[in-house]
Structure formats: C-alpha cells, structure tokens
C-alpha cells in the first residue's frame, strides 16, 4: 500500500464514549477535504463508533489497526 500522508494526529487515548467520536468530529474540521486524520484511541468502542460516525457523516476510513489496546484509525475527510 502506498504511504498515506497524515495531516493531523488526534490523541484520544484515555477518553471514553462519546469522547473519541466528539474529538474526531472536531479534529476532522481542522484538516482540508482530501486530507487524512490519524486517530489514536483506547476506548474499546472506538472502532465500531468511528466506523459508524464515518458512515453517517460521509467520511472515509482508510485503515484501522488494533495493537496493544490502542486503536489507530485513519480517516479521510471527504466532506
């Protein structure tokens, strides 16, 4: 896979629902359309919640990795 350029990283580790989703919604507005936001979270709900959030808001999930209790999600701002 080609290297993905990350425009901004959101450290949402230690936040619980609805924290990661709320902060993702705020952070995605701080990047330009077409850019990628990296979200790091420890809430076990982060993966399904941010996937659902992306479906609802029309943004795109490029990649999700879960390792050592940390979920790393790459979100491309589409709108």
């Amino acid at each position: 896979m080609a290297e993905i350029k990350i425009a901004k990283t959101l450290d949402a580790k230690g936040l619980y629902c609805p924290g990661p989703v709320l902060e993702t919604a705020k952070a995605v507005k701080q990047i330009n359309i077409g850019e990628v936001l990296e979200v790091l979270a420890t809430d076990p709900a982060a993966k399904p919640d941010i996937e659902a959030w992306a479906r609802r808001t029309g943004n795109q999930i490029l990649d999700i990795k879960q390792e050592g209790g940390i979920t790393r999600i790459l979100v491309k701002r589409v709108k």
Binding site: G14, Y16, C17, P18, G19, V21, L22, T24, A25, K26, D49, A52, W53, R56, T57, G58
Partner: protein, 141 residues
C-alpha cells in the same frame, strides 16, 4: 422527508436524576458529532435539573441506585469523564442542537427564563417540540 444524510434525534428529558441525565449528554453529543440534528426538550424533573441553582450542587441519583452513587461519581472522576452539562455544551459546539425548556413546567415550579442554564435556546411547548422532532428518532428519558 429526511434525506439519508439528514437524521434527527430528539430527547424528551423527564427525569432529573444524574443516572438519567448522563445518557442524555452522551446521546446528544454523540448524535451531534455524527451530523444528526438534535432536539432536547427538558420537562418536569428534567427541567428542574437545568436551573442554574440545581446545577451548582450535586444532582440527585435515582433512589433505586443510591448505594452506587458515590462509587460511580468517584469512578467518573478517575476517568476524567465530562459532566453531562459539558456534553450538552460540546454537542452544541460540534453540531446542530436545540435545547428547549417546557413552559408549563416552568410555571409549575415557578422557574423564570433567567433561572435556566445558558445552553437553553428556547422556552416552548409540545407543538414546537413535535414539529422539530417530526420524522426522526424520539426517546423519552
């Protein structure tokens, strides 16, 4: 009707205990972040919970869960979890959220507009709420 990317969540907040108000904050802010239009209608004990005076102190917990109150509050503090009022404020920052106070309840309890929390947008009644809630999800909490 509501298009696919325009959904609504409306909450009728009847209860004034912290165990019910927390999910109100969580649902409202999560929905607002996901682009839902959110309407929060505070009535009866719920309205009583959004007076400046009652928000200053600790809000009561449901009698049935009283024994869990102190442990739960301690845990929430450790988690650095926001208070439900902060969640409502955050919801308003990220999305389209209207907070409505029930006019009839205000009269029942002798509450004036200036007694209410700053996040209240309007004082209105059932017709306004139903009009705004039409076509979306509505929960009575």
């Amino acid at each position: 009707m509501t298009s696919d990317n325009k959904r609504k969540l409306s909450l009728i907040v009847f209860s004034g205990t912290i165990d019910k108000l927390m999910p109100v904050g969580i649902l409202a802010s999560g929905a607002a972040a996901a682009g839902y239009e959110v309407n929060v209608f505070f009535t009866f004990w719920g309205l009583n919970a959004i007076t400046k005076k009652s928000m200053e102190g600790m809000q009561p917990i449901d009698k049935n869960y009283e024994q869990f109150g102190p442990v739960m509050m301690q845990k929430m503090k450790e988690m650095n979890f926001p208070m439900w009022t902060q969640l409502i404020e955050q919801a308003k920052e990220v999305g389209e959220v209207k907070v409505i106070a029930c006019s009839t309840t205000m009269e029942f309890f002798g509450i004036k507009r200036e007694d209410l929390a700053p996040f209240v947008d309007d004082v209105a009644g059932v017709a306004t709420f139903l009009d705004r809630a039409e076509g979306g999800i509505t929960l009575f909490i």
